[in-house]
Symmetry: C2
């Protein structure tokens, strides 16, 4: 347990969650010798946390195949996902190695019936509010059928997490016209447009539409989704750096900054990447949330809250029901998938 | 001639260029009845501009195939590219329909020997300075060989345009480890890493590295490149909107803004998308620059300057030489492309 900064950070994150949620219990998986004193030192932690000892920690740079091989059953990550599988836990949150976490989740939880490939969904702050974007890196080169499944799962996540009755779904593309894009996107667009799926499909969207909040759910394959997410993060950092230089430019700018400090504080809060921390593994029989490894207690608490919200909303059973219905409807539809160019 | 706003804007752009460059002559292609009075009204324009009459204007929403069919030889766009082909012009700049401009450029100018597919290169402002990114939308799903050609062309553009002796080249990917990414990126990475090409290959980069200026040339296929570019534009717009809201938040913020106005003006100038206007078509026997259709005179002037700079640097012959050498070296190399996984 711990991510880049060790269990001190994650336990502080747990404390932050317990400060506003009293109905949650935590199973801390890691080295008991390290965790027990930390828990004992805090009455609130003591009352809500159980410790599950694990000898081994998966290293941050281990390849997924390595993590799966050597002594995997003794690692904290394996035991944490196992607790989710057995029903002991309702959600697993980890700040560890993403590839290893995904590999163990697939082995232990298995894919949902009918889902071929997992997706990682992220929350994207927009001018309207927040959107769900998937996949941001689990399935490189998803095909049309997989993109359609991502649309169904992302829509269910948006409903569960944000309580939006009819979330709009857009396919990320290089243009909004039907002829634009690669084969997979065009095929998935045709299926979503023509199909009987109960999805509010809004058509193709472009990269600059994401931050405007044009749709509630942005669907894309993992390569371009990962690049979109990281490019947006990089651009935000870049502009933040420009802004700091600007406000230190001369004495007037420095004074102006002090005067407007309440505004800048609000802006910093709004752009705080910690408030969007947490990648959600979708398509598995269980909710696994990957926290950024380098985040702090506030960021880790956000990932925990995200996982708890989804568990309390019964997201997995919603997704399973929606996927099942979507596959049945596509099979029964008068417009078979093959005719729409899928495959 | 004219883009979204008509020839008034483009002619004002020409005037802006003539204000700091006296050694350039312009061939204005469009409706003589409209252009002649505008040119006659300005002595400087009159001295440096010739008009080439065209009856037809390619509409902004025409499909490339349509633009190539109906009366294409009478359109201003066709005639402008034809002037480049004949040597009458050294560079063609258009604010018109991108797809039609690319289609006509391919038909008239032809691809350079050995180049299969064109790329559109854009200039990306970074914390270090500026980078070249290609392809941002011409070749959806470029294969490994095409990505390697893009690397060679982008590197030559960076040397020609920015005078960088040894530009660094990175391949955009979802991680920096060799095992990351799709097949095309992995293959292209293997070729660039192992090959004898005189390119300063810096390995894989991620989306957030672009704005930090980690490399001088960012290579990617058109789908993800277009999404990266537009996502960055959208994020910049989004943060600009947050910033405006922030500075209007209360009287202190408003006063702070007024005090720091010199800084905000500098920031606005730094983030002005007009200063990065102009997509460069690469891989053709001639320099074609696509200006944003909706830009103003300042933005169009930047696209003109970009084209003139590349023409004066002899960029096309540099690219042709580099591509020729690169292909010969790859053929003669002890590590044949096939062994590196290319094809």
């Amino acid at each position: 347990m711990g991510g880049d900064h060790g269990p001190g950070v994650t336990l502080s994150g747990v404390s932050l969650v317990l400060a506003h949620r009293s109905d949650v219990n935590f199973l801390l998986v890691g080295d008991e010798a390290v965790l027990q004193p930390l828990v004992d030192a805090d009455a609130k932690l003591g009352a809500s946390c159980q410790i599950l000892h694990a000898d081994v920690q998966v290293s941050m740079d281990a390849k997924p195949s390595q993590a799966l091989r050597s002594g995997r059953r003794h690692s904290g990550m394996w035991k944490a996902v196992e607790a989710l599988k057995s029903g002991e836990a309702d959600v697993t949150v980890s700040a560890g190695n993403t590839g290893a976490l995904m590999a163990m989740s697939k082995v232990l939880l298995k894919m949902m019936p009918g889902i071929e490939r997992p997706a990682i969904a992220a929350i994207w702050p927009t001018l309207r509010d927040r959107s769900v974007i998937l996949d941001v890196g689990a399935t490189i080169g998803a095909d049309a059928d997989q993109l359609v499944d991502f649309a169904v799962m992302g829509e269910a996540m948006s409903r569960s997490l944000f309580g939006i009755a009819r979330p709009t779904v857009g396919l990320l593309n290089v243009g909004v016209e039907e002829i634009k894009g690669n084969g997979q996107v065009k095929e998935a667009g045709a299926v979503l447009r023509d199909s009987v799926l109960p999805i509010e499909y809004a058509g193709f969207i472009e990269g600059d539409d994401i931050g405007q909040g044009k749709v509630d759910v942005v669907v894309t394959e993992g390569f371009s989704g990962n690049i979109a997410l990281k490019t947006a993060e990089g651009t935000a950092k870049q502009i933040g750096s420009y802004l700091r230089t600007t406000m230190n430019r001369n004495i007037f700018c420095k004074l102006g900054y002090l005067l407007a400090k309440s505004g800048f504080d609000a802006l910093r809060k709004k752009m705080d990447p910690r408030t969007m921390n947490g990648g959600v593994f979708l398509g598995l029989n269980g909710i696994v949330v990957k926290s950024h490894g380098g985040t702090d207690a506030v960021g880790f608490a956000h990932a925990l809250d995200l996982g708890i919200d989804m568990a309390q909303a019964g997201m997995i059973s919603r997704i399973a029901r929606d996927i099942d219905r979507a596959h049945q409807q596509r099979e029964n539809s008068e417009i078979p998938l093959a005719a729409a160019g899928g495959g």
